[in-house]
Structures are given as structure tokens and as C-alpha cells.
Subunit: 359 residues, 3 copies
């Protein structure tokens, strides 16, 4: 695992929020590749290799002209299909002059790009993040660009919410999370961790959201889809009102959405949102919830960032494979297994055979 | 080419402007070697290895005393020939105690050093930069020390002025540069790119210099001498006044001078000047021209710097050899060939023979 | 020597001043290992490996609870013996769950840790630094944490005080140091450099301390103990009052104390003190002496730091083994030999035998 890429290439990865992508050039590194992103005049996104065919200058240092990218050094022009359409001082254009194009799609308020074999890029495989754009659900997310850790450490983090007890004490942390059992289910590409904490005092954050006194049933149902998206269904309802049986009408419900895009083997872009289906028109609650997550270093996710980046530094300095695991890691371990299957599916077959032959 | 040094050692490289070199110690890295430069009391320059024989402390951290360098740690003294002339607390001086000395010469307002075999250091081989010190030509140049790119990228840049159209649009850039053909000639150590753009509207910069209305003939005649100096004869004259035939009296003429000294394999010191033979006594024009080239990030050469450093970063990240080339690269390709010949001439002969024997 | 660790592991190294260690977690790297230090409620120090058994998060990012360390990610608890005493959400604790503990002792106002085999950690081997805590001797030292040089360069520096003449000219530097001979004696673990400079003008610093006119006898008796502690007995007395024969009553006497702890192969923590046995109650003299040593870049030791860090950079760039040596290096060479013996004693025996067999 040490030398191979730790991320599958044949996957849709979030590259940008919809509102960030304009008719202008944006540079972003995804899965170790430099990409230049832009929006065409008809609104469709485009994603090209960010290095001119001629002398490698990043195309993102040039400018857009009529949906085409003009290199900032010698003026070569590339269209959204990656083909060179103009060269300085010559009429004939070398037909091999092109840059790689990456399939890109706008969906659920994110721009998704496919970094692997374009022939396999099926938009039907984009993860279901409909909550981002659904009128019933309201929230204002953001991105940690260039988070300095392996994207899988974020997956580990979100697949084991017992860390809330220690990292997020005083807000959503609660000893009840570690006291109550959880179950894990999984399929080919998905794994789900479910935990119900019944008849507990609500932790401070959820108590405020509920706005009613009394003990609650709290749920955390976290869905992972390989390689790196997570949808977490979380909330509390007054105990005895039937939430565990399916009636959440006396509760408050949120969903956290995480699309974690590898930048390099040890950094990632973490697109996050937290949406709710209560008090949807309360703009100050929206702002308050955003600040609860990210607020100049005082938000929940910034507490996670500090831990995740410190963990990556420790791993770099002190590599120890595999990690030791606890019972709480069952969900994360399934996520890792599903990622590993995707990675294995992308390995060339020959070496295995060669090894067998040599054996 | 990947592991070998990308610069010949047997060459004169600019190390400092004349006015910068005082009777004081200056540290500079040239061709990967640390050098301490100073001026002796009789005015002659001196250049020594910048590491004490004893414990490697950079001699540039010490001080000068009577044209000799005193180490700042234990007081060893070295003369301008690199020989140790005093050791602390002992009468007998180890005869092997010396530091390397590099031949150095002041000429054409620059200090030139020879980093290779001293036996080959012939001052007659110093490039002709007489414009720097000629009373007929006036200008105020400078240096980009530690420019973060392979010195050959600067050569490429100056040997193909079509980049002006894209990098320097609005000043000296002009579509005429890409429209008009150029010719390349070359000898053993020199290559020249010539381009005449006849009967064009002058670009803004040259229109201002000419100070007369009307269409012009513009010329760019760029002389490269291996490994890394360039003299560019540029200007405009009113069309029909005979400039292409040799009469430049109705025009304005400038010369750009570039001595590009490798610092490391991926950085260089770029000594530049732009001199003119018109309005020589107009001090504010001199200042204006300097600011046009370097002006807190808004000058021509600073636009080049941004491109060159970005190109080097892209090459480091995405090595691809060789570059793809266009017609416009013909001059730069000749310059590269002449550099490669110099590099090949410095390769030891044995490996080639060994390979032949094995073949 | 290039790849092996340049520091013995079986040694007591200073890790902290007594006043710095509180009932709180402090991170420190010693001999390449990350350590978390804290003081227990009964005052005893504790030192653990600074990486959680579970997922490597530095334990120093967690918090102390009842003399135990609680990990800041998932709440695992480790006692001062390194054993895990609590895991989240499970009753059974994996008996192998522990982090390494390093023997630690508080003595002579410093916290000392043992980085090697705990079975060999005998507190009787802690260097004699009694001056730090002795009521007769007064001083206010400090630490250069993360000094960017091999700890042995500091040893070299202190074992050859001729450098004072060049690095500390104007305060304690004096040509007399280089003019006068010195002697070196050594044992199994200790080496001593002694120099008497008789009947000299006192250098400015010592003249001020003595406070009397007249010529002096000056002494520098520097005791090294492998691997990296130094005690320097220094002072001046009026010439003719018998100091060389043992009567220092007409002089002033200081002792400099240096405990130099490897952080990595090329950085160290330099715990220093300078104590005196005269005018012990003069608080402004104490402050003045501290400022003479460290004073925002203007102190004696800061002059050394500039030289030491420049020397390390030069070594990194220009490795040349071994150093060339002068007569003045005799003391430093003995120190290096004693360090090398300690290093050799820690080498596994097998490779030597294998080499002999192959020979």
C-alpha cells in the first residue's frame, strides 16, 4: 500500500461548489493531478489538465476566450475538449497537440470530476447528495481546501462518532455515544453505522435545537459510499414519541454531508454541509449552524481539522501499519475495506500472475 | 540529462555588478558552489570557496583584513590565492590548508567568475557586453538574484520574443511579432534570431520612444552566446527611412543585455540591462525605462519572472522530456543545442568508450 | 557514521528545567523520539511516548486526568507506566495496549530522561550539575530549544574556547587565549581542557566582574562528560595572589553548565546556565549576566548560535569527513572519541563478525 496511490481514479470526486465556478479559470489539484476548471458560457463545467502541451505552463495562468483557454505564455488555445485550436505564428496545428480533459458534471450543487478512464465515467454513479439542493433541507456548507491529511483519515473520523465525546466535548460530545452500542451493515459500495441512544439528557447543541425540556432519543445513522462520500442522518426526539419506531415528528433532524476529495496522498479537499429540515426560514439559525461548524478555529470541524492534521504528521513521522483497532472502529474498518476493494480493482492484473509464475 | 549538471563549468559567469562589489565579503552560490566574493584594495576582485578549510563555516561570515579573509569562528586567515596564512595558537601552518580559488575578472561593469578548470580560464572568452560600459549607450540595469528556474528557461524566453504578445500585451507585445517570419543563423558558440516587422503600427512602448507619428519598421535581432548570455538589438524606425537597409537615423535603438548565471540546477541569477543610444542625458527616461522593466512586480521582467517560476514548478512536478516544440522555438532550440555541445564537451570520455566496448 | 544515529541512547539527557514542568502535558522530541512530559501530583516527572497506541495522535494534544493521560481523539487513557487503563465503549482492555515509558528523574534543577534500555537506567549516572541548585552558586540560565545543529558541534564549541577570541571579541574574547597553551586530560567518560593565562590584562567582561585594577591570572578549566554535558570552571584573580596555586580568594569565579540534548541528528536542545559564587545577592548582576548570554540576539550564546547553525548548514550542503583539525581541537577531539566509544558500545556485534568472516 505504501507506494501505490491510496485513492481510486475511477470515481466521481467533488471539485468545487456550484457558486464558486465562474467563467474564469480555477486551479485545483485532484488525485495528484493539476486541473484547471471553468464554466462555459452555456453553464456547463469544463476540466482540463492544467499544463500547456507546449511548455507546461499552468493553463490556469492564462485566460478564457470564448469558452477556450488561452495559454499565458505563447498563446496556444485549447477548447473544452482539450484540443489545441490555435498556435502562434503557424497555420498548421499539430494534430497531437492537446491536453487531457476530465469528465465533469454539476449535480447536487457540486461540480464533480472523474479522474480515471473517461470511458467509465457514468454520471449515474455520482453519489446521492440531493440534500444539498433539496428545498426541504437548508444549510450553508463550505470546504476545507488542502486539508493536510490522507482523505481516509476523514472517513475514519466520520465513521466513528465516539470521537465527538473527546474532540467535541461541550457541544455534541456525550458519554452516551460511547456507552451505547452501534451496528454496522454493508453492501458492495456502501457501509452504514447506526447508533440509537435512548432516554438520555440531550447534549448542549441538540438541546438548543430541540427547544423543549425533557429526555430524548438520539440517533446517528451514518452512510458511507466508497470511495469517499458520507451522509449522516442525525437528530434527537423526545423520548417516548416514537422516533426509534419511525415517527420523528417530535424531534429535530439534521444531515451532515461530506465529499472528501484526495488532493495528494496526504492531503484532501473536504466539502461539507450540514442541513436541517426544521426552522428552514430562520436565517440566523443557518448562520449559527455554519459558525458552529467553522468559525475561525472555534468550530466543530476545526477541532477535527486540528486532530486530523496532527494525526497525519504523526503517521508521516512514525509509520506503523496497520493501525491497532478498537471495537469502535468497526464502521471505519468496513469503509476501508470497501476503499481497498476499489483500489484492488484498479490494479493491473499482470504483476499478480507474474508473481504466481515465479512462485 | 536528468542527473548531470545542466550547466557547463568551463565558462565565465556574471557574479555581481561592479558597484555591488566592495571591500567586504559577499556570499553567492554559482553553479551549485558557494563562493565568497570581495574586492581587494587595488580594486581587483577575488573569489574563494565559501567554506573554511577547518570546520566549514562560511568564510563570508568572517571579515576582511588586509585583502585576506579571517574566518569568523577560529580566526584562520586565507589570502586571495586561497592559501591559509595564519592559524590560531600555532606557528606551523599545515601546507595543505587552503580553500579553492575561482578566477575572477571585472569587465563590462560586471564581475565574471570561472567555475571550472582554472587552467582554461582565458579572459578573452568573456562575452562582449561592451554596451554596459560604453558612453554612447545609457541604461540602469539590475539583477534578479535567485530566480527560481533553470537558467535555460530564461534563454528560451529571450530567444523567442513571440511571448511578448501574450506576456507583455499592452507594452511591447504586438500581434505583428507572431505574424512576421524570422530567421535563425548559428555558429559554433553563437546563434542569432532576426525578425523584421515592416510597416506596422508601433506598439505603445516603442511609439512613446520614437515620439513621432506614423507607421514603423520594427526589428528584433537577438544574439545568443553559449552558455548563457544574450544581446538583443531592438528598435523601430519610421517606415521608408531605410532602417532595414541599414540607416537607423530616423529610429530609436535599444539593446537588452542578459547574463544568466546558474545558481543551482533549478535557480539562476539574471543580470539584465536595457541600454539606448538616444536621449542619453535624459535621466528621467533612464528611470522610466528601469521601472518599465522592474517596478515592484509591475515591470516587464517581473511578468516574465512569474511565468518562468511557474514553468519551473510545473516541470518539477510533471517532468516530460523533451518539450514539444513549435516553429517559434527554432532560435531557442539552437541555443539549447549549443549549450548541449558545451555540456557534452565536459563529459568524461571513459563511459562512452566503456559503453562502446560493451556493445 | 553517516547513517547510524550520532547519539547514544543509553544516557541521561536533560529534557526540561524544573520550573517548566507542571501538571500539564509538554511535547518534546529527544533523540529522534517524540516524548510527552508531565509532572504527577506527587511531584515526580513522567515521560511517555507521544503517540497514542490506537491511531498515533500525539498524546500531548490530550489532557491530564488524575496523573493519567487522556488521548484527545478517542479518549484512551494511559497511566504513567504507559499502560492503557481505559478504552472507549469497551470493558475489556487489550493487554498489549500501551505506550513506551521513558525513565525520568528530577535532579540539579533539571528533568533528565533516559532514551535507551530502561534496565540500564541508573540515576547514579546523572551528570554532576550540583551548581545549578547549590545555595553558594547563583545564576539564571535558560534553554535554546531546537538549536539547528548536531549536538556535537556545541561540544566542539565549548571544548575549544579559542573561538572566544573571534566569536566573542569585545567581551570575553582575548588574544591571550590563543597565545597560551592548554593541556588535556581524560578518563573513560570524562575529558578536561585546562588553560591558565597568567599576568594578562583582563578582558572587558572579567575586568568588570573583578572590579579592581591590575593584571590578572585567568583560568578556563572545562570538564566534559560523555555524551554531552560540560562544566566549565572559569575566572580571574589578581596576578600574584596565588590563584594558580589554589587560592582564589582575590578573584572572581564562575561556572558555565551545558547539558546538550540531541533532538534529531541535526538539532539539539541546549540547556545552559552560568553561575557565580560572588555578589550572590546582587539581583541586577544576575540579570545582567543572563542578558550577557542571551539578549535578543545580542548575547554571547546567540553569537555562538549563529555560528553553529551556519556550520550545520555548511556540513549538510558540503559533507566532508573527517574535519581537518588544528592543535586547538585536542580537547574537542577527546570529547568526540569518548562519544564514539559510547556509540560503538551500542552497536550490534554481528555485523563486525560478519565483516571479519567475509574478509
Amino acid at each position: 500500500m505504501s507506494e501505490a496511490k491510496p485513492f481510486p481514479m475511477n470515481a466521481w470526486y467533488a471539485a468545487s461548489w456550484d457558486y464558486e465556478l465562474k467563467q474564469a479559470l480555477t486551479a485545483r489539484t485532484i488525485c495528484g493531478k493539476d486541473v484547471v476548471l471553468y464554466r462555459r458560457s452555456d453553464g456547463r463545467p469544463a476540466a482540463l489538465e492544467d499544463a500547456c502541451w507546449h511548455r507546461l505552463l499552468p493553463l490556469s495562468l492564462g485566460h478564457l476566450k470564448d469558452d477556450q483557454v488561452v495559454c499565458g505564455y505563447h498563446g496556444l488555445v485549447f477548447n473544452a475538449a482539450g484540443r489545441c485550436t490555435s498556435m502562434p505564428a503557424q497555420e498548421t496545428i499539430n494534430p497531437s497537440a492537446c491536453v487531457r480533459v476530465f469528465p465533469s458534471v454539476e449535480k447536487h450543487r457540486l461540480i464533480w470530476v472523474w479522474m480515471g478512464d473517461p470511458a467509465l465515467a457514468d454520471p449515474a454513479g455520482i453519489p446521492d447528495f440531493h440534500w444539498n439542493g433539496d428545498a426541504q433541507w437548508v444549510g450553508e456548507g463550505g470546504t476545507f481546501y488542502k486539508l493536510q491529511c490522507d482523505y481516509r483519515l476523514v472517513v475514519d473520523n466520520l465513521m466513528d462518532l465516539t470521537h465527538e465525546t473527546y474532540v467535541h466535548a461541550g457541544s455534541i460530545g456525550d458519554e452516551a455515544i460511547t456507552r451505547n452500542p452501534f451496528s454496522v451493515t454493508h453492501g458492495e459500495r456502501k457501509a452504514t453505522v447506526s447508533r440509537w441512544m435512548k432516554n438520555i439528557e440531550p447534549p448542549p447543541f441538540w438541546g438548543r435545537q430541540l427547544g423543549k425540556p425533557g429526555r430524548v432519543d438520539r440517533w446517528q445513522i451514518v452512510h458511507f459510499e466508497a470511495p469517499s462520500t458520507i451522509v449522516g442522518d442525525v437528530g434527537v426526539a423526545l423520548t417516548g414519541t416514537g422516533a426509534p419506531e419511525g415517527d420523528r415528528s417530535q424531534g429535530v433532524n439534521g444531515v451532515f454531508l461530506a465529499a472528501i476529495t484526495p488532493e495528494t496522498a496526504t492531503s484532501c479537499h473536504y466539502f461539507w454541509n450540514f442541513v436541517r429540515n426544521f426552522r428552514q426560514h430562520d436565517q440566523s439559525l443557518t448562520t449559527e449552524l455554519r459558525l458552529a461548524h467553522v468559525n475561525d478555529g472555534r468550530g466543530l470541524y476545526e477541532q477535527d481539522r486540528a486532530v486530523l492534521e496532527a494525526q497525519q504528521k504523526a503517521i508521516d513521522k512514525n509509520p506503523r501499519q496497520p493501525f491497532y483497532n478498537l471495537n469502535i472502529d468497526a464502521g471505519a474498518l468496513w469503509a476501508r475495506r470497501l476503499i481497498d476493494r476499489r483500489l484492488a480493482a484498479e490494479q493491473p492484473q499482470e504483476p499478480a500472475r507474474a508473481r504466481a509464475a515465479a512462485g
